[in-house]
Amino acid sequence: MSLEDAFADGPAFVPYLAAGDPDYESSLKYVEALERGGADVIELGLPFSEPIAEGPTIQNAVVRSLEGGMTPTRFFEFVEDLDVSVPLVCMTYYNLIYRYGDESEAQRASNTSGETVSNGPRPFVEKAAEVGIEGFVVPDLPAEEADPLREACDEFGLDLVFIVAPTTRGERLDRIMEQVSGYVYVQARLGTTGAQSSVSDQTGSSLERLTDYDVPKAVGFGISSGDHAERIVASGADGIIVGSALVDIVAEGHENGDDAETVADRLETLARELKDGAVAGASQRPPHPERT
C-alpha cells in the first residue's frame, strides 16, 4: 500500500516511535502494538546523535536507542524483523542517509588520505526500499537541499514527506509542495516535538493555506489525546501524527521496569484512543470539495 492510499479511507492515524527504544526486542513489540491500535502509517525513527528538531522526550528516546546499539544497519534488520502490514516511513536526519554505504570496509582500510567522499543518499534509499520502507521524513533537509534524495526516492519508488511549518508561506510553500509526496507533515506549532496538554488553535488556518495542494495533510507536533485528535481532524486534517505522547509511555515503562507486554498494551490503548478521536473528528467536518 502506498502512503497516499493510507489516507484514502478516512483520517489516517500516524504514530511515531524510535526504533530500538529502549531495546531492540521491546521496540519490535511496541511498534507492532501501534498497528493493533489502529495505525494507518507508522513513522519509525532511526536515531541520530544530534536530533536538533526534537524536544526532550524524543531526544531521550534517541539516547536510549543509541545506547541500546541502534545503527542504520540494525535499523534495516529491525524493519525486516517487524511484523506489521501498514506502510512504514523512516524518520531520520540527513547525515545518516548521506553517509550510508559510502565505502566498503576494504576501501576504508586502504584509504590513507583520510578523505572519504560520500556516494550520497542513493545506497540508503536502495536499502530502505529493499527492506520495505515506503518513504522518508528528514527534518533537517529542506526542499532546497533535497534534490539528490528526491531523485533516489523516485528511482526506487519511495515517497519523500516534507514538513510544513507555521512560518512557511508563499514561494517557500510552493517549492516544498512541488517536492512532497505521500503526505505533507503539517507542523501544528513552532518549536520542537513534544506532547502538549492543549492543542494549537492555529490548525484551521494552517490547513487553509494548503487547500489548493492535492496531497494528504497530516498534522503533528503536540497531539497527546483522543480529544486533540478529534479537534484537529474536525479542523480539516487528513491525518494526525503522534510521537512524544507515545514515547512518554515507553519512557515511563522503561523507568519503572514494566514488562514489554504491559507497555505494549498501554501503547495500543492510547493508539486506539487517538485513532477513535480522529475518526470522530472526521464526522464533524464540513464536506471537503476536493477530497470526498
Binding site: Y100, E145, A165, T167
Partner: protein, 422 residues
Amino acid sequence: MSADGKFGDYGGQYVPEALMPAIEELNDAYERYVLDNEDGFMDDFRARLRDFGGRPTPLQRADRLSERYDREVYLKREDLLHGGAHKLNNALGQVLLAKYMGKERIIAETGAGQHGTATAMACAHLDMPCEIYMGERDINRQRPNVFRMKLNGSEVNPVTVGRGTLKEAISETMRDWATNVEDTHYVIGSVVGPHPFPSMVRDFQSVISEEARTQAREKLGRLPDAVVACAGGGSNTMGAFAEFVDDEETALYAVEAGGSTLEVDEEAGVAPNSASLTTGTEGILHGARTRLLQDRDGQIMESHSVSSGLDYAGVGPELAHLVDTGRVTAVNVDDDEALTAFHRLSQMEGIIPALESAHAFGYLESVAGPDAPDSEEADGLGEYVVVNVSGRGDKDLESAIEETYERDIDIAPNMDEFTGGL
C-alpha cells in the same frame, strides 16, 4: 561563495523547515546591511568595534620568538579585544544586526564560554535581552565565564541532555530558535551553521586580516609569507585568512587540536582530538555540509581537546573547502605541544594566550623550533610569519595548571603548592 551559500559542495542550509523563513530573513538582512551597508550598518558596527571593542588590535613583533625561530614573528593581538578574544567581533556584529532587524531577543550557545561572554557583553552594550545555552558539564568547568555572562545580565540555561557539552548546547539553542523564531535571533559563535552564518561570521571576523594586512604593509612594507591561526569552528581562522586568500604569496596554516592522538575509537564513538580538517570526513552537521568527526554510520563523534574552544566535531564549510582546494594547509598540534607553547609564550613574551591560540604557537615550535627536524614545512613559513593570538588565557589558568601538572611539561613553573587546592 556562491549565492546559495555553498563553498564547493560544502555549506548549505540543512535546518528544520520552521527555521527556514528566519534564515531567509537573516540572509536578506545580511545582504542589505552587511554587504550593502544599508542604513550605514557597517559604519556603525566598525565604530563600535573601535570604541567598545578596542580595535584596531596591534600587530606586535615578538622579539624573543623571532630570535628563537630565526624569522620575523608577528602577533595579531586579538587577546586585547574587549572580553579577551576575537569572539566579540562576531557577537557584536550579530547582535547589532538583530537590532537593525527589529529582533527583541538574543539566544546563543557556548562551550568554553568565550562566545557566550562576548554575546552577553554585546547584548548589555546594545540593551538586548539574552539567554545563553551551556552544557551543564561546561558550566562546571568554566565558572568564571558563567559569572561574567550573568553579571552582564544574561540568563544562562544549563543543558542537561546528553553529555552536557557544546554539541548539545548548539542543538538546544536551535530548538529554542525553532520555537521563538519570530522575535529571536540566534547568534552562532563560529563560521559554522546554515548559510548565511558561515559567510556572515567570516565577514564580521575579517577585520582581523584586514587590519593585519594593512599593518604588515606599514611595518614591513610587504605582506607576510605565512599566517598561522588555530581552528576550532574556524572563525578566528577565517577572520585571520579572509583578506589574504587572494594573496597567493601568503601561505595560510590552520592549526587544529590534535588532542592526545589522531587515532579514533569508533566503538566508543570518541575521537581523542578535534582535527576534523585532518581526519574528518564529509557530512552534515548543525545546518551545513562540511568536514566532521563521525563514525562510519554518520553518527557524530565526541571530540576532545585540552582547549575547550577547539573541542568541536565540525568545522566551518568555507575553511574545509579552502583546505580541499589547497589554499589553506591544515596541520595539527597535540595537547602536550599546545600546553608547552602556552608556557613558552607566557614566559618569553609576557602574553598568556588562550589554550586555543597556544596551538598556533605549538605549530611554529614543531616546524621551526630548536628541536624541529629540518623540514620543508619550516621553509613554508617563510621569513615573516603572522600568528593570530585569538584570545587571552585568563579563562584557562586553572585548567592549564591542572593539565600541566598531570603531564609534567618541563618548561612549566613549579605550581605544586596550588595543584592540591584547585
